[in-house]
């Protein structure tokens, strides 16, 4: 009798201490990017748990809002580590918030898979020794390099396209300025005959503006300079609030370059509806149209819409899903929760992501574990974002040159 009671007690003890794998996410929940990334992460966790979990354990996801404030983002890491006692850190969006989190992350050295922070300053802050740190979002300079590859491919496929004179209008904050810096660095290399833009970029000019998101929104002085310079490719690096006003003002002053490119991290809700949007080229990581050419993207789209009754509106949605799935694949391959095994596994796996690309880890300038290295070149056509490059994900032919303002 005693034996039965004891074994029942042991069974009970084992079951009640059944381990879950705890993942801690820090995201800006008040912003659309953080909100949808959080949703996508919850979706991924739900899918994994319904399929039986990982290594026989269920996943538990804890999400803390960083409120887009550095000290709150940093405190969130401390909270997840010491109160929820998570095993992994995921999430991220803003570079300046991440700068404050980096010293705290270095304190705990838990495996961190980060989908935010494009600024090179963050890479500098992390340093070369952080084996536990995996960065999925392409760094700003990596994005710049990928566009060179993209334009080279495009000018080969469409020989009438040339991009020798480039004008970059950049917002005066950290995001815009580091974009401009990357372009300038690449231009210096191209002048010497080295670097990925050699033979493509022959002249570069830039001018700064105050973004509409921060109380500006008047680009006419910059657009006038661009008009005078008469570039082959005009590109603006700002925020979603700038997307339509900059088009409106370009129309107003009669500036219609052959290639009108926008590179904000997100697009406003009514951009497609606006007749001025047709023909605008954009740099991005993802487009809704990918669901027509990629089964993984389609699965994510359908599942997200079903679960949350809204459409993914930002690349942070599929990226958030990727964040969790990639980590899960790594744990599965490692076969255990051993830190070194997981680090090794994450470095080896290839994950086909709904963002539209295969995720594989390789070193970047300073850190060892960099994920995505490229963005895509897309174009708005009749209210829909279409992928132009990479060609294996292309969903429409390029419209060149930019249609001009007549009749809009």
């Amino acid at each position: 009798m005693k034996k039965i009671v004891v074994s029942l007690l042991i069974l009970f003890a084992v079951l009640s201490f059944a381990r879950t794998i705890k993942i801690g996410a820090v995201l800006p929940l008040s912003d659309i990017t953080g909100r949808q990334a959080a949703n996508a992460m919850k979706l991924a966790v739900k899918e994994v748990n319904e399929a039986g979990g990982v290594l026989g354990m269920q996943l538990e996801l804890f999400i803390v809002d960083d409120e887009m404030k550095p000290e709150k983002g940093a405190a969130a890491i401390d909270r997840l580590a010491t109160v929820e006692k998570v095993d992994f850190f995921v999430g991220g969006m803003s570079s300046s918030v991440h700068l404050a989190q980096i010293p705290i992350l270095k304190k705990y050295q838990k495996i961190t898979v980060w989908i935010g922070a494009a600024s090179y300053r963050c890479e500098e802050a992390i340093g070369p020794d952080a084996d536990w740190y995996f960065h999925l979002h392409p760094w700003d300079y990596l994005q710049g390099e990928s566009y060179a590859h993209g334009w080279r491919a495009i000018t080969e496929k469409y020989p009438q396209v040339k991009i020798e004179k480039i004008f970059l209008a950049y917002e005066e904050g950290a995001f815009g300025t580091s974009s401009f810096k990357s372009y300038q660095d690449e231009f210096e290399l191209a002048k010497k005959g080295t670097g990925v833009w050699t033979g493509l970029m022959k002249d570069l000019k830039g001018a700064s503006f105050k973004s509409a998101a921060l109380g500006g929104g008047d680009y006419r002085a910059v657009l006038l300079q661009a008009k005078q310079y008469n570039p082959d490719l005009f590109i603006w690096a700002g925020y979603d609030a700038d997307a339509i006003p900059i088009l409106v003002q370009a129309k107003e002053i009669g500036f219609a370059p052959k290639l009108f490119v926008g590179a904000p991290p997100g697009w406003p809700a009514d951009f497609g509806k606006n007749p001025l949007s047709h023909g605008v080229i954009l740099y991005g990581m993802w487009a809704p149209a990918l669901k027509d050419v990629s089964p993984v993207a389609k699965h994510f789209w359908d599942a997200y819409v079903k679960e949350f009754n809204e459409e993914p509106a930002t690349y942070f949605a599929p990226l958030g899903y990727t964040n969790i799935m990639f980590l899960v694949e790594g744990i599965k391959k490692a076969g255990s929760l051993d830190r070194e095994a997981i680090i090794k596994a994450l470095r080896e796996i290839e994950y086909d992501s709904p963002v539209g690309g295969v995720l594989k880890i390789s070193p970047s300038r300073i850190i060892k574990n960099q994920g995505f290295r490229a963005q895509k070149i897309l174009q708005w056509q009749n209210g829909v974002q279409h992928v132009i490059w990479p060609f294996e994900y292309q969903t429409a032919e390029l419209i060149y040159p930019f249609p001009g303002w007549e009749g809009r």
Binding site: L29, S30, R35, I63, V64, D65, E67, K69, P70, E71, K72, A74, A75, D78, R79, A81, T82, V83, S96, L99, A100, I102, P103, I104, K106, K107, S119, Y120, R121, E124, A125, G127, E172, G173, A174, G176, T177, S178, K181, L214
Partner: protein
């Protein structure tokens, strides 16, 4: 009276040993609260002279930049850089004070706000010195990121600020300051050198703000124009002082603890929309406790007598 001599040192000791009994998260939250508390107190100290300053974020940012540049470019020890930041902020305040302290009321307020923006513009544009829009990062946080040592340092500075605030409240200086606040013209007629006191208060409070900025920058090991000069470092300390009770030392302490803890825990309870509750708390508190928490308590105590 005598209770105070036991009570206060006991609280101080308690504050110092607290980190050993709580988790790193709470230590972090308390460290943040103390930063905002020091700012709130420095704002209140200026307010006691009758001057409404909107410039605290500006001197906070100046101190942060001074501290990071000192450590990065001049190999100053991080702890010493806090002193450097305080002195730098004080010098700037001294120089500007000769012009700015002739202004009163909304004109003083808007000018100090404009100055904060001017500092930010300089930080953003003088890229060679300040790292420009991308900012500057240090390789390491102060004390290698040790949260408890950081907490102790911030606690020490905060206790010093509390002490300064109490000196302002209790020493002979308070007669001059209160008289300036109540009626400048009479004060002048009584022989009070208004400008001297205003300049002193301005320089002292700016030095505090600079030191606190340095603490913040050293803790997170970076500066960046947009986040370092953020309006949060003006609006939150002001709210804390007002909610807790202005013209006092305990008021801002109560306000900082209440609002600081509330904002952190509200967001954990309500991931979406917690800021609405925070705004409502501000509104309701002011409507029903117009003299702040501490002010209302002292009013009640006066009534009881």
């Amino acid at each position: 009276m005598r209770m105070r001599y036991i009570f206060i040192p006991a609280i101080c000791v308690l504050c110092f040993v607290l980190p050993f009994f709580i988790d790193a998260y709470l230590v972090h939250v308390l460290t943040s609260i103390m930063i905002f508390l020091s700012l709130a107190l420095s704002w209140d100290m200026m307010l006691r002279t009758g001057q409404l300053s909107f410039g605290i974020a500006g001197f906070f940012g100046l101190g942060a930049y001074a501290s990071i540049i000192a450590v990065d470019d001049f190999s100053v020890h991080p702890m010493l850089s806090i002193l450097v930041a305080a002195v730098f902020a004080a010098l700037v305040a001294f120089a500007l004070g000769w012009i700015v302290l002739r202004l009163r009321e909304i004109y003083f307020a808007i000018t100090t706000l404009a100055l904060s923006s001017v500092f930010m513009i300089f930080a953003r544009n003088l890229s060679d010195l300040t790292g420009g829009s991308a900012g500057k990062v240090l390789y390491e946080s102060i004390f290698g990121g040790d949260p408890i040592r950081t907490y102790w340092l911030v606690l020490s500075v905060t206790l010093a600020v509390i002490l300064l605030s109490e000196i302002f409240q209790r020493s002979r200086i308070r007669f001059a300051i209160n008289s300036i606040r109540d009626d400048e013209i009479s004060a002048k007629c009584s022989g009070v050198n208004i400008f001297k006191y205003l300049l002193f208060a301005f320089v002292l409070t700016s030095a505090i703000q600079g030191a606190v900025g340095a603490l913040y920058a050293q803790q997170y090991a970076f500066v960046e124009p947009e986040s370092t000069f953020s309006a949060n470092f003006l609006l939150l300390p002001m709210s804390m002082a007002l909610v807790g009770g202005i013209y006092s030392t305990i008021g801002p302490i109560i306000g900082a603890l209440a609002l600081g803890l509330a904002s952190e825990y509200l967001k954990l309870l309500m991931p979406y929309g917690h800021l609405i509750i925070y705004g409502l708390i501000l509104i309701v508190t002011i409507l029903f406790l117009p003299r702040g928490v501490y002010g209302t308590i002292t009013d009640r105590m006066v009534k009881k007598r």
